[in-house]
Each structure stands twice: as structure tokens, then as C-alpha cells.
Symmetry: C5
Subunit: 321 residues, 5 copies
């Protein structure tokens, strides 16, 4: 679906233009064209390929989707893939934005993504002194918008981790702790595989050898890289903490279990003693003089109680009870 | 076994040619020869070595097989090894394709592989504008075919992991979970050792210093590299998840076991109390006044039931039962 | 809040200057301006941006805070982020110092940090032969002060680890060991993420390609790097030891538990034997000749005691008791 | 012990020569000398140092032995260390071959190694067209012989792993599994430390900056490197699998143990019920009407059997039995 | 404390010289000064700084001590830190040697180290042809002496590991195994942090870009590097083995424990059966015909014995007993 198709000159919008005019406008030297598609039909992509003269392999990637984040040069033009991430009902939904950039055009193709970039266009049009930089600024604005969406996701994952952690030290043996740690780890890995290659790619857009048309936006792409770097460090910290938490949780379960064991053993001992005594005086030997004593029974009960109490106190001291 | 032996000129098939004519055709400047062997006899390889003038060490590798994926330069020619992978009844079957490439020839030798490359040849012959690029395009087409076969394998492994995962949280103590995780890990490692060195090798065919005859197919080999990169990332994610799952499964078993322990302890306590009471009133002391009471027995039963019920409720609250 | 705003010439303080004069002073060739802010209002930062001509992206970072430690070049000026760390009631408090450096100015912006840098300024003013080096020396003095604060933190973490370790081998099953190990790990990771990127950044300020204005302070920044390197090595050692300690603690719990199990089993066996004997002689068979023996009862008690003692001795020897 | 000392010209053996003549022969331009020692006396090494003019540090290494595999340049000459590995009664025996190579000589010193290199010399002498390449080919032939011996070792270790694995899933709790895994890991590490540095060293003998005298044998050393690479990949796979197997084995033991626990708990419950009933009817209360019923006893037995059977069936369904 | 202060010319000692003359001698072109201090007072270091013209930052490092091993260039001079390690009553004692090297001087400052370097000086003076190389040879001789001391330490740690290992498979549940593994790991990490940065530093003294005055001693520093490399490989192997041993020990404890559990369960079952039977025949039902049989009692005992024996044999077969 075509969202937008406009030509810009010196940072200001010239006009919305019809799709068939794209090739005419990009033939001009003094303006650039910015087109946005959303979940496009194959035919729409065919038209774009013809109008912009896009490389067969790049258009094939856009058609199939499910690419890794990357920045690829095709001659003078660039093919950029970034992934959007949304948190929907506790699950991460990953979408894709494929961006074709040339000397004087930007074509963004958004797929399976919940994020709209209308805001990016509106804001860019309000800042002509920046938009004047041309396609490279548009690419920056799009990447910046996508990357800024990662921060709340990371925070949500950190919050989830904090919650699990808190519960872990109070109710170690709850199945849900370990299950939530596992599911959190999987989410973190999804995010990691979105962020890590994008960071690597963003690193190619400033510093050393950068594509000519990005030469004067390097500070901006370094800023994107820096954001990704912070996100990546947080992700790594969460990953590492989850791994430790899984081990710590196992230890907590083992400690719990060992306490149950000690209490089981202590009570078993106490009752075994009582039962043994009772068993002995329940024997049917003829000659058992204490059975005939007037206060034999209370004495027996007293002895049993004493021994059991003694054991109880000892176990208490040994912290088995 | 010889599968195919043909000469091509400007992207179109000239003719099937006899093996003995190969050296004549590759002596010509205007065409290239494309030969395909399958599980060849030593003698067949000898003929090929003679006709194409292949390097002794390369032909030795082809003869022995079981090479790691690699790209080796021998003067002006190249020796490429890729591994095919098929999923047969749940097991990974690994085959090998050795490709000798020169300025105007391609010789592919397929061993222990279930995949046929007739489709690759047919498709190439239908696209003369691409086949015109000569041997480098043929190598690309072969590698692309092999690599495209990796995707469904990775998906099958991911599915298997999802199934184990689901079962793990419901029946942690089933031996089959852990056994399947172990076997999945082994499969993943087989795939990793097929994909990882091939990715490294493909990385040499574009970008920096590439062999001259591949100079104008770089975009294509970057595409192969990109596919391998995605596959490799998925493999790493599966590996990492399996490792976590093994630990999580151990924790689930420990939690299961600790619950059994608690229930065992709780019931043991309840019955120990009952048995101790019964034991006491089963003693044979003369003077045990309650034994003579009219409602001594029901009172005793009542007391035992009360104490046991009290314990039951307490254990219930403590979630031991 | 403005803490300080002064101009320096040849290593000596010229005067405190009003904020509006900053741009005049930095227009001069013979002196430099050193300004310090603490938790500034947005308006204060706006003034600074105007007076110093700071880059929009750098000022944005200072405004938002929560940056990773870094060194960024913006044309001829530099933007440096370092993190301060304080140990307050056992918790790590992380603050931030953002430093803008130009040919003849330094602006430091301190946020959420408990550390004051008045001492740094005082010491610098007492050493005009060093302060003469200009802004690069001021940056060094600030970084050095921040980094020197890391050492006692690392030592405190090492002490905590030593304490846990000692307790671990004596009271393995105490919940607090594992909880403290976990919390220590989290603290160590916080410190790691403060130190590690700063070390990387400091490494850019000496050796290879360094910003021109830092050329003659390289030995000083190498010294900072060297300190960070030592701290980083200590952090890695603590991390590694914590990981090992978590595993070792689990093993200790398992050994503890297995000893409880053995003692439980041993005592259970001893009492089971006694109870079985008592049960047998408590049976109501008519013909049980030993019940009528004169010394049947003491003989029975003796037999029970002998068997139990024998078991006790055997368990003792087997180290179950 | 001197094994062999001969001069070669254009790939053919000139003659066996006496040790004192070595320096004369290597002074000539048209031939090269190939000497082989085995477990030499210090005096023999002294003679060699004099005749070949070997560097003090290299000869010291040969004297002490126990070097890591390496390739070191001393001016125009090279010092190569490779380790031989043999599997003797299930144990890995590591030997050492130190090779001194110059423009026209090769001196190999074999220590504590069970492998003879007479075959290498014989084969080389049968292929004068290769031996003509001089010392670099001899070095290749020796390294190739050593490296080819690694393959059966790796296969033996893989077989051992397969056997352990098979047993592990059937008899998890056998001590021998874990012990064999541990010992296998140690063996694998020995092999790793033999293979890994040699691979690194072999990598210096082709490709980039190689010693002049090896310039035209690069294809051969790449082949050695490639073999080592395959071996190294297999070693890494075994290592990784052992680590996983150790964890999996622990999980299997835990599952085993938790099943024993469940059965113990189930049977304990069943018998506790029976014992409690028996205890109750063994009490000595006067008024216990059921004791006087005609069929009280069979009814009691029946009740006990019913309850126990009910429990048995329930435990069966819950898979505790 | 001043240990030694002498001037050397062409590899031979000129004379012991007074400290105040140092600057005069190093002003000469034809000789070099070699000074050794041990645990010096601040004042002694001040004198040295003046006489040798040492850099403030380097002297500060020497004053504070506790540096990481490193090699730092200060203009034409070098500052080298190496750590000595001694094994005193099973504990590692780490000392430090700081070496200042210039065109014609060496100053070594030894702190908290048990090793004397008098032997190094004596040996050097006996080899004027080597000492003639000047300061670089002295630095090599000192480093070589320090590094040679690491080998017996590594061997001692390996022996300790072998002992633990042996005991581990025989007495898995002994607390001391795991404690010794933990302590060994800590020692290994101390050694690792001494060796690893020194190896990195030594790597800068040969090969690529080395300080001018070390140019003709490169073979010697490569030899030091090579020794460190071997030590480092051994350390890594010990570390890896300890990690595996900790896991293996946990598995052995689990297996031990699971065997205790099985025996506990088996004996509990056997006695429970006996006790249940006894309990049944201890009931007080009127009509229990078998109680009146002549051989009821022996029959009962026989039945109990048979059932118990049957269970015993079955448990034996199942290897629970
Ligand atoms: Mg990070
Ligand atoms: Mg990472
Ligand atoms: Mg990581
Ligand atoms: Mg990381
Ligand atoms: Mg980390
Ligand atoms: Mg990781
Ligand atoms: Mg990846
Ligand atoms: Mg990987
Ligand atoms: Mg990875
Ligand atoms: Mg990985
Ligand atoms: Mg990973
Ligand atoms: Mg674990
Ligand atoms: Mg470190
Ligand atoms: Mg580290
Ligand atoms: Mg680290
Ligand atoms: Mg680490
Ligand atoms: Mg470490
Ligand atoms: Mg682990
Ligand atoms: Mg563990
Ligand atoms: Mg590998
Ligand atoms: Mg490896
Ligand atoms: Mg590995
Ligand atoms: Mg590896
Ligand atoms: Mg790997
Ligand atoms: Mg691996
Ligand atoms: Mg484990
Ligand atoms: Mg190593
Ligand atoms: Mg290492
Ligand atoms: Mg390591
Ligand atoms: Mg290692
Ligand atoms: Mg390792």
C-alpha cells in the first residue's frame, strides 16, 4: 500500500507526486523523492523497481522479508534493513523496514510492523534546515525513530527481570520463576538478534570509509550507533543476569529441598523414638515388671515425652527444625 | 558418474561435448565448459585432472572427500567445497560438492548427496543474460541452491526445539526431553560446522581482495553470504536456547523432586502421629484408665483424626500438600 | 546550578567571569575558560550551548543523561562522558559527568553524583606548571579523580566476596550466601559497564590517532587507561570467582544434603529394626514360647540393643553417622 | 642417536655423508643436507649446532624439549616444533619433533616419539620431482606425516564419546560414565593444545608474509593447515559435546533419583496406611466393638487391602509407581 | 635499600659507583649503569628520579606498587613492570619488579619479593659477550629469571589438581575436594593475572614496532614470550579442567546421593513389610484363627522372612542394594 510519495527541494516539500513521475523527478538534480510503502503487493514493488532502477537482489530481499538488519551498497545506492519491535501482550512482535536510498531518493518499505512513520515525515518537514541534507537525513530520522522504540522494550524486560528476581528469593520453588526466566531469555535473544547486527551496520555509516552521500551526516549516525550501543550493553547485562539467576534459582531450590529433608529427618527421628518405646511396652512378654507398676503408664509417657523433647531441642539447636 | 558435460557461449549452450574434447574447448577464448560428476570413480577424476589441468592437492581432496567447506586458490583457478544437508527420518545426512573453477570452466563433483543440481543447470540455461557472466555465475547458482536447502533444515530444528520446550514445562521429569535436547544439540552442531566455515569462505568472494574472475559477481556472493549469516544467527540462537533449556529442565526436575519430598514428608508426619498414638494405647501397662472408659476408643479415634486433620490443614497452607 | 566559572592564563586563574562573558574569553587566544555545572536546569544548558557553541547532539546527551561512558569528537571539540560510582549503604550509586572540551575551554556537567570536583580545581590551581597544558590537563585531572574513586569500590566488593566465601564453606545451606553472591554479581556488572567502555574510550586518547589538543598529554591519559585496566582486571576476576562460587555453593549444599540423607537413612534403619522386633513380640500368637521365659523381656531388649548397636557401629564406620 | 645423514642434489640422494662433512656440503650451492636425530645426547646436539651454525636459543629449546608447537625465524633459518601423538593403551603419548631448516639443510630431532619418519624419507626419495623443491618440501613431508597421525586419534576419541553417550541414556547413574567423560575431556584438551598452536603456526607458512624459502611450497602448507583446521573443528565439537554430556548426565541422574523418590514415597504411604490401621486395631481399649465381630478380622484385612489398592492405583496413574 | 650500583663498559664491570655519580656516568656515551633497589624508601626513589631523570608518572607507579605487568614507553626510556610469584606454605606470594630502562642505564626496583637477582647479575658478568648488548640484555636477563620461576609454580598447581582429581572419584562427597578445587581456581587466577598481561607486553618487545634500543635483542624477548605462552596455555588448561572437575564432582555427589536414596528406599520397604505383618498379627480381633495354630508363630516369622528375602533379592537385582 502506498502511504506517501512526495518530492522535496532544499528541505521543503515540493508536492505529492504520482508514482509514474518518480523517475522524472529523480532525473532532476535539484530535488529528492521520498516514498513510503506498507506491506506492498508484488506489483507495487515491480513499479518501484522500474521507477527507481533498484537492484534485483535488493528488491528480492524486500519481497521475501525476514532479512537480518544490514546495510548493503549496490553501486551508488544503498539498501538498509532495520527491524521494528513492539511489545504486544507480553510478546515481542518483530516487523521490518527496508530502505532503498540513492543520491536523490528514499524508498521505505514497512512490513508486519505496528509502527507508523508519519510522525517522522511530519517532524522532518518542520525542520527544513535538517531535511535539506537530503536522503541521508531521512534515513537517519527513520533509524532514529526505530531505535528510540527499543528503549521502552529494554526497560520492560528489565522490569520483568526485577520482578522474577524478587519472587525468586522468596518462593524459589515456584515453577513460574524458572519458566518466566526462560521466556525472558528467549525475548532477550530476539531483541539481541535485532539490535546487534543493526549496531554493526550503523557502525559502517560513520568514521572510516562511509558511502559518499552519508559523509556529512556522520555525527547523526554515530548518535544512532551510540544509542544502539547502550541498548546492546543493557541486553548483554540482562542476558548475563538471567543466566546467573537460573543457576541461583536452582541453588535456592536445592537449599529449600535440603531444609525439607532436615525437617523430615528430625520429625521422623522424634516419632521413631516414640514409636519404638510404645512398641517395646506393647510386647507381650509375661515378665515385664514395669507394666504392673501403679504409675508405669504416666512414667512411660513422661520418658517418651522427655526423650522426644530432648531430641526436639537438639534439632532446634542444629537448625534442622 | 558423468551427469553432464556441455560448452556454453555467451550464456547459451553450444552443445553437449565428449569428455576428451574438454581441453580443446577450454583452450578457446570464447566459450566455457560446465561438467557435472556424481560419486565419480577414481579413473573419472584422473581424466578430469588431465583435461582441466587440475592441481594435485585439489584433486586429492575431491578424491578423499570429507573436506570442510572452503575456498582455495590454486594460481588462476579456484577449488570450492560446499556441504549439502538433508533431513532423512529425523537425521541429518551431509553430502559434499567439490567445485573446480577456472577462467572458462566449472567442474562440480557431487558425493553422498541427495540433492540434484539439474534444476540449477536448467534455470541457468533459461537466463542467458546471467549465465553470460560465465563460471562465476555458475558457482553462485550452485552455492545458492545448496544454501537455500539449509533454511528448511533450520526451521525443522527450531520446530523440534519448540516441541521439546512445550513438553519440558509440563513433564519436566520425562527422560525423553533431555535426550531430545541432547540429540538436537548434536544436530545443530553438525549444521554449524557446515555453515560456519562456508560463511567465512563466501566472505572472501566479495568485498576486499577477490579472485579476478569473481570481480563482477560480487553482489551475488554477498547475497549468499547474507543468507548464510541469517542461518548462522539462527543456529547460534538455537544452540544458546538448548543450553539454557538443559539447565532449565534440570531446575524443573529439582522443583518436581522437591515437591515430592514435601508431600512425602507431610504424609509421613501425619501417619507417624497416628501410629504413635495407636502405639501408645497398644501398650500393655496395667494402669491405663482411658482404656477402660466407655467411649475411650471413639475418643481416641477422634483425637487421632483431629491431630491428623490439623497437620493436614497446616501442610496444606504451607503448600507442602 | 553553576558551581564555578573562571578564566585561566598560563596555568594561573585570571578571574571568576560572568557566564555571558564566556564567548568573549574563548574568542581570545591566550587563555582558557573552565566552567562547572551541577544538575543544571535546561535553561542553563541553553546558555552554555550558546556561549560555547556546542553541538546539538552533544548537548542533547547532556540534557538526557544516562549515557554510556564515551569520547566523541565533534569537529575540533570533544564530548566526554564518565560515570561516578559511590557506595552508599551497600548500594552502588552511579552518577554522570559530561565534559565538553574545546581548544580553550572545558565545561563539566555533573549529574546525580555525590562527588565534588572542587578539590580537583584547587589542586590544579596549585600546580600552574601542569595547568598550563590547558583543557587537556583539566580533562585528565577530572578523569583521574573519577577513576581513583573506583579503587575503594573494587576493594569493598572484593571484601564482600571474601566474607561470603568464608561463610560458604561453613554454612553452605544458608540462603544468604547465594543471595549475597547474586547481589554482588549485579553490583560487579554495574561497575563493569561503567569501567569497560571508559577504558575503551581512554584508549583513544593516547597512542595512535589522538585529537590534536590531547597530543601532549598522552602519557597522562595512558596512566588513566592503565588504572582502568587494573580495575577492569580485578572486576573480571571477581566476576569469574562469583560464577565459580555459585557452582561451589551448590555443590556444598548437595554434599550437606547428602549427609543429612545418610544420617536419616542410618537412623531410620536402626529404629526400623527395633520397631520390627517389638512388633514381632507384640503379636498375639498363642504359642510364642519366648514370651513366657523368665528373662525373655531383658533378653529381647538386649538383642534389640545389640542389633541396633551393631548397626550404629557399622554406619559409623561407613561414615553415614 | 643419529638416524640418517645424507646430501641431496636436484631431488636425488647424492650420498650418506659423515657428520663432520655437513658444514662442507651446506657451503655448496647446488645441494642440500637432510639429517635425522632421535633422542640425541647433548654432545650430538653440540656437533649439530657447530656444523649447521644453529642459534643458541633454538638449540636450547631442542635440548630441553617440551616446547609448544611453533614456527620461529632466526635470520634466514627456521625453527619448527611439532608434536606427535600416539594412542597407547587408551592413553595419549605426546612426543616432539624439532626441525631446523635453512636454505639448504633440514635437521629433524625426534624425542619421546613412537613414530618413525623413515617412511617419509623413502617416499620423498621416490618422488625426485617434489624433493627437488628442497628443504621446504622436506618440512612439508614431515609435518604432513605428523598431522595425518592425528586423524585416527580424533576418530578414536569420537568413538569413545559415542560409547559413553549410548550408555549414559541407559545407565545414567553409573559412576563410570562421568569418569570416562572427564578423562575424555582431558585427552581432548591434550590434543587441542597440540593441534591449535600448530595450526596457528602453519598459517604463517602460506598466504601473507612467508619466509622466502617457503614461497613456492605455499599450496602444500595450506593443505597442512586445512587438515589441521578440520581436526581442530572436530576437537571443538567433541569438547562442546562433552560439556553438554556432563550436564545431561547430571540431569539424567536427577531424573533417576526423582523417580526413586516417588516410588519410595508411594510405597511408604501404602505401608503407612496399613500400619496405622493395624496399630489402631492393636489398641487395648476395652470397648472396641468391631474386635468382637465374627468377621471383624477379614473385614479389617479387606479394608486395609482396599485402601492400599486404591492408593496403588492412584500412584500408578500419577506415574509414581 | 640499595643492593647494587655499578657501571659497565663493553660487557665488563667498570666499578661500583656512588649513587651521586650516576648522572655523570649516564652522561657518558661508552658505558651503562645498572642499579638495583629493594623495597626502597621514598627518599631513595627521589634520588633515583633525579639522577636518572625518570618520568613523574613512572616513579609514581614504582612508589605505589601493585601495578599490573606492563611495558610503557616514556620518550626514549622504558618502564617495565613484572610480577614475581613464590609458593610459600601452599599460598602464592606475589611481588613486583619495576624496571626503568634508558639508552645506557637499568634501574630495577624489587618490592615484596622473595627472589634475589644477584644471581642474574653474577651470571651476566660472567658472559661479557652478551652483557655487551647493554641495557636490553639486562632487561631480558631479569625477565627470563622471573619467568623461569613460574614453571615450578604451574607444576605445583598441576600436581595439586591431579591429587584432587584422584580423590574426587573415590570420595566424591568429601567437602575438602570442592574446597580445594575452589582454592586452586583462585590461585590459578592469581597466576593468570600475572602471566597474561606480561605475555601481552613481552609481545611488544619483538616482531613489529619495537623500541629502538631493543632492536637487536628481539630473539631473546621472543624466547621470553614463548615461555610465557607455554605457561599461559598450561594455566588455561588447568582453569578449564577445574571448571569441569567442579561439575563432575557435583555429578558424583548426586550419584552417591541417589545410591543412598535407593538403599534407604529398599531397606525401608523391607522393614515396612515386616512391620505391617507384625502389626496385623498384633491386632486384638477376637476371631483370628491363625493366632491359635500350634505353629502359627513360626509360620508367621517364616512368611515375613520369605517376603523380606524376596524383596531383598529383587532390590539386589535392580542394584538398589
Ligand atoms: Mg556490552
Ligand atoms: Mg554482546
Ligand atoms: Mg554477551
Ligand atoms: Mg557482553
Ligand atoms: Mg556480560
Ligand atoms: Mg554470551
Ligand atoms: Mg548471531
Ligand atoms: Mg557464531
Ligand atoms: Mg552468536
Ligand atoms: Mg555461540
Ligand atoms: Mg548466542
Ligand atoms: Mg546448572
Ligand atoms: Mg582480565
Ligand atoms: Mg574480561
Ligand atoms: Mg570481561
Ligand atoms: Mg570473564
Ligand atoms: Mg576471567
Ligand atoms: Mg553450569
Ligand atoms: Mg551447576
Ligand atoms: Mg570449529
Ligand atoms: Mg577452537
Ligand atoms: Mg571450542
Ligand atoms: Mg569453538
Ligand atoms: Mg564454535
Ligand atoms: Mg563449539
Ligand atoms: Mg550443571
Ligand atoms: Mg590455551
Ligand atoms: Mg586464555
Ligand atoms: Mg580459557
Ligand atoms: Mg583455553
Ligand atoms: Mg577452554
Amino acid at each position: 500500500m502506498l502511504i506517501n510519495c512526495a518530492a522535496y527541494k532544499e528541505g521543503r516539500k515540493l508536492d505529492e507526486i504520482p508514482v509514474e513521475k518518480i523517475s522524472d523527478y529523480i532525473a532532476r538534480d535539484d530535488c529528492f523523492v521520498w516514498v513510503a510503502l506498507k506491506d506492498p503487493e508484488p506489483a507495487e514493488l515491480d513499479v518501484m523497481q522500474r521507477e527507481f532502477g533498484l537492484h534485483e537482489l535488493a528488491i528480492e530481499d524486500a519481497r521475501h522479508g525476514h532479512q537480518n538488519p544490514k546495510v548493503e551498497e549496490y553501486g551508488d545506492s544503498l539498501f538498509v534493513v532495520v527491524k521494528t519491535v513492539d511489545l504486544v501482550e507480553g510478546e515481542l512482535k518483530v516487523g521490518e523496514v527496508d530502505i532503498f536510498v540513492g543520491k536523490n531518493y528514499v524508498l521505505s518499505v514497512r512490513s508486519e510492523s505496528q509502527q507508523s512513520f508519519l510522525g517522522v515525515r511530519a517532524r522532518s518537514e518542520r525542520e527544513p534546515h535538517l531535511l535539506k541534507h537530503g536522503p541521508s537525513f531521512v534515513v537517519y530520522a527513520l533509524m532514529d525513530a526505530v531505535v528510540d522504540h527499543y528503549f521502552p522494550i529494554v526497560e520492560a524486560l528489565e522490569d520483568e527481570l526485577d520482578k522474577i528476581e524478587l519472587n525468586m528469593f522468596e518462593n524459589a520453588a515456584e515453577r513460574s520463576n524458572i519458566k518466566r526466566l526462560y521466556q525472558l531469555k528467549r525475548k532477550v535473544m530476539v531483541l539481541k538478534h535485532v539490535v546487534s547486527p543493526l549496531m554493526e551496520s550503523a557502525g559502517k555509516l560513520y568514521g572510516g570509509r562511509v558511502p559518499a552521500m552519508f559523509a556529512n551526516s556522520q555525527d547523526y549516525f554515530r548518535d544512532v550507533y551510540d544509542h544502539l550501543n547502550r541498548i546492546n550493553a543493557s541486553i548483554d547485562a540482562i542476558r548475563d543476569t538471567i543466566n546467573t539467576a537460573i543457576q541461583v534459582n536452582l541453588s535456592m531450590v536445592a537449599i529449600d529441598d535440603s531444609e525439607v529433608n532436615k525437617r523430615l529427618a528430625a520429625w521422623a527421628a522424634i516419632f521413631a523414638v516414640a514409636t519404638a518405646f510404645a512398641g517395646i511396652w506393647g510386647m507381650n512378654f509375661k515378665w515385664m515388671p514395669e507394666l504392673d507398676w501403679r504409675y508405669g503408664y504416666p512414667a512411660a509417657l513422661g520418658l517418651m515425652a522427655s526423650v522426644c523433647s530432648y531430641l526436639y531441642v537438639r534439632f532446634r539447636k542444629a537448625r534442622w527444625l
